[in-house]
């Protein structure tokens, strides 16, 4: 802190003067705005320990206020069993302009420097470090110049969220008291979206949730009830005014692979760091009724935007998809919101049955689609629209992850051009959550493109595929190249562990032959 003492009075004075001049120029104020128009609001430039204490108490923390030997006011509390401190600096007459928050992760094993370094590279807003027996996650915020009155809440939430990420990164568990957790799937209530807040009653539960909680019913009766209760007509796409809204889109089947696309509309005012949506997809094929649990992952979806993720499942035709059920949400990690926002998102979730929209634009009721074969928009010649066009990667060493690009030549109308990554696990290691950031380029493309692929868990000997829908036109592709894998996480949680296992991080150009 010595670096910034004393209070930068000179600097502040000069900045304020300069800004006064700068802001008096109309150009700044008249800048066209995007989602949020600048507006006059109450701002804070300092905070007292008492005010901070009250804010934290309001969030449900059991806090203790005290003063350190060097007169620094601090507040102590525990989150998920981890000691957390809020320290206030740069104080004059109890009014402080810098807030620091530190969460301690004691116990063993202590994360290595490498783990800490990786976290500091990829994390946002916080920094991590260790000493002899403890790891720390720390963040700080200056109120100088003025921040919105909501900013402190946002700061606390960001810190909590990133602490949870850090815990996951180092293989610990972290369940902040003010963060909701969805219930573990018990198997008894597979289609009920349940929300549990550890050790706390949910402050505002929606009526439907309350009902679901009061009347737990058996699996069969739920299914029947839902089928009856969810007529989901063509125009009944869920459209609450806030919260998360999911829409299931479908495309043409091909070669036994069927993309089930889950579109997320973020109608909250908060940016999502990461949202995981595990769902159960039920469908039928010649072997009878099938179901599959898959997890959609949405990283970095900003407020007001939508994001599309697809997962490919093995069915032969669209008619085999009976319905898609959002089963439960595993994680709800947000940036910049008070914890109460989670309530809003939960109540805004659509029904567990989601209608499937055919690419032709026809909407099919999820509960009745199977009674009659839905009309195909146009019979498609069954030829190889999806080709594994990627040349096999050089297999020079055993015990590797074999990575290859997979592409279709078919534009998914109104959605984009699919590009996929296939990873075969030739190692003896089990990867719990494999993520790869792949740099590829298309011939004639102006710049290499980085795409993150979430491949899920991968057992030894197993194969995982993930697809991205690129906004560009498939027709623009003449060839694509897997240039590099710039990030690979997955072995034991999110720790960077698979880089050494990758068989290939560069390949030659992959020709894409168009069928048209």
């Amino acid at each position: 802190m010595a670096l910034f003492q004393p209070r930068l009075s000179w600097l502040i004075l000069l900045v304020v003067l300069t800004l006064h001049v700068a802001l008096s120029q109309p150009s700044f104020a008249t800048e066209p705005s995007g989602l949020f128009q600048p507006r006059d609001e109450e701002v804070i430039e300092t905070v007292t320990a008492k005010e901070m204490l009250a804010k934290l108490k309001k969030r449900g923390f059991k806090v203790t206020h005290t003063v350190s030997d060097d007169d620094t006011p601090y507040i102590f509390f525990q989150t998920a069993g981890n000691d957390t401190l809020v320290l206030l600096y740069d104080c004059e007459k109890e009014q402080c302009s810098i807030v620091k928050m530190v969460t301690l992760f004691s116990g063993t094993p202590l994360p290595s420097f490498d783990q800490i370094n990786i976290f500091n590279h990829y994390a946002r807003y916080v920094r991590a470090y260790t000493d002899d027996d403890t790891a720390f996650v720390e963040s700080d915020m200056s109120l100088d110049g003025g921040l919105s009155v909501d900013a402190i809440d946002g700061f606390v939430t960001r810190h909590q969220t990133m602490s949870a990420f850090f815990a996951e990164h180092i293989g610990r568990t972290f369940d902040p008291a003010d963060q909701y957790r969805w219930s573990e799937l018990t198997g008894e209530q597979p289609d009920t979206v349940m929300l549990k807040r550890k050790g706390k009653k949910i402050a505002s539960v929606s009526k439907s949730q309350a009902k679901a909680k009061q009347k737990p019913v058996e699996k069969k009766s739920i299914v029947k009830k839902k089928v009856k209760k969810a007529p989901a007509t063509a125009k009944q796409a869920p459209d609450p005014s806030s919260g998360f809204v999911f829409e299931v889109l479908a495309s043409r089947p091909d070669d036994g692979l069927y993309p089930v696309i889950l579109k997320l509309y973020n109608k909250t005012q908060w940016d999502i760091v990461k949202l995981m949506v595990p769902i159960r997809i039920t469908y039928e094929n010649e072997e009878g009724k099938q179901s599959r649990d898959v997890t959609y992952q949405y990283p970095d979806v900003v407020a007001g935007e939508s994001s599309t993720e697809s997962i490919w499942i093995p069915v032969k035709s669209i008619s085999q998809i009976k319905q898609v059920a959002i089963r439960w949400i595993a994680d709800c990690n947000l940036i910049g919101d008070p914890a109460a926002q989670c309530d809003d998102m939960v109540t805004a979730l659509p029904s567990t049955r989601v209608p499937i929209r055919l690419p032709s634009g026809a909407i099919v009721n999820g509960s009745t689609i199977m009674e009659k074969e839905p009309p195909q928009p146009k019979p498609q010649p069954i030829k190889k629209k999806i080709k594994k066009v990627v040349k096999p990667v050089q297999v020079s060493a055993p015990e590797k992850l074999r990575v290859s690009l997979v592409s279709t030549m078919e534009q998914i109308e109104g959605m984009g051009c699919p590009l996929g990554l296939e990873v075969v696990n030739h190692t003896t290691h089990e990867f719990s959550e494999l993520e790869m950031v792949v740099r590829f380029r298309q011939q004639g493309g102006v710049a290499p493109l980085d795409e993150q692929f979430d491949l899920g868990a991968l057992q030894p000997g197993g194969k995982a595929m993930a697809f991205k829908l690129l906004e560009s036109d498939c027709g623009a592709f003449e060839s694509a190249a897997l240039q590099a894998i710039s990030r690979c996480t997955g072995e034991q949680g999110r720790r960077l562990g698979c880089a050494n296992w990758i068989e290939i991080s560069e390949s030659n150009l992959i020709p894409l032959t168009h069928s048209r």
């Binding site: 900045v15 700044f28 705005s33 701002v43 110049g145 946002g154 407020a303």
Partner: protein, 160 residues
């Protein structure tokens, strides 16, 4: 000299008093590179556009002694972006140890440090506009990053 300084301070304090004392200010939840450029240039920081491979906006801030890169994130509409990342990489001749980097993260403030794969020490400072910030707050951050860079260099030179 001292008298002039006092007079200057008095004059300035009168001039800026309404701004400092006000509790209501214009709050921004996103800003464009153009706005940040104008703001930085007002404070005599030279700004040039930086091309990013991901297509998002970026700026190079030239503080005289140091250059920094300003990345824009959470850009939803046009170039209006909800968060900023100040970044600077340093070539020190020799690769600092992880302990040195760890010490910075322990004792430093605002920015975090890490070592790139090639051993380059890099600092990041993430700043969110989404929760609402005044222009003055952004300006402080722009100016403070220079101090942070200087402190980081000093820290690296000092070593363990």
């Amino acid at each position: 000299m001292k008298q002039s300084l006092t007079l200057l301070l008095l004059g300035l304090s009168v001039f800026v008093a309404p701004m400092v004392g006000a509790e209501i200010k214009t709050v921004y939840r996103e800003m464009s590179p153009a706005q940040i450029t104008r703001l930085a240039e007002t404070m005599e920081v030279k700004v040039t556009n930086k091309k990013r491979s991901d297509g998002l906006p970026g700026l190079t801030l030239n503080y005289g002694d140091y250059n920094a890169t300003l990345f824009f994130y959470d850009c939803v509409v046009a170039d209006q972006c909800g968060s900023l990342r100040f970044s600077a990489a340093f070539s020190m001749g020799k690769i600092p140890t992880q302990q040195v980097i760890n010490n910075w993260n322990d004792n430093g403030i605002f920015a975090r440090a890490y070592l790139s794969n090639s051993g380059t020490p890099i600092i990041f400072w993430d700043y969110s506009l989404r929760t609402g910030a005044t222009v003055e707050s952004v300006a402080y951050t722009i100016l403070r990053f220079k101090s942070v860079m200087a402190a980081f260099v000093e820290h690296l030179q000092k070593g363990e």
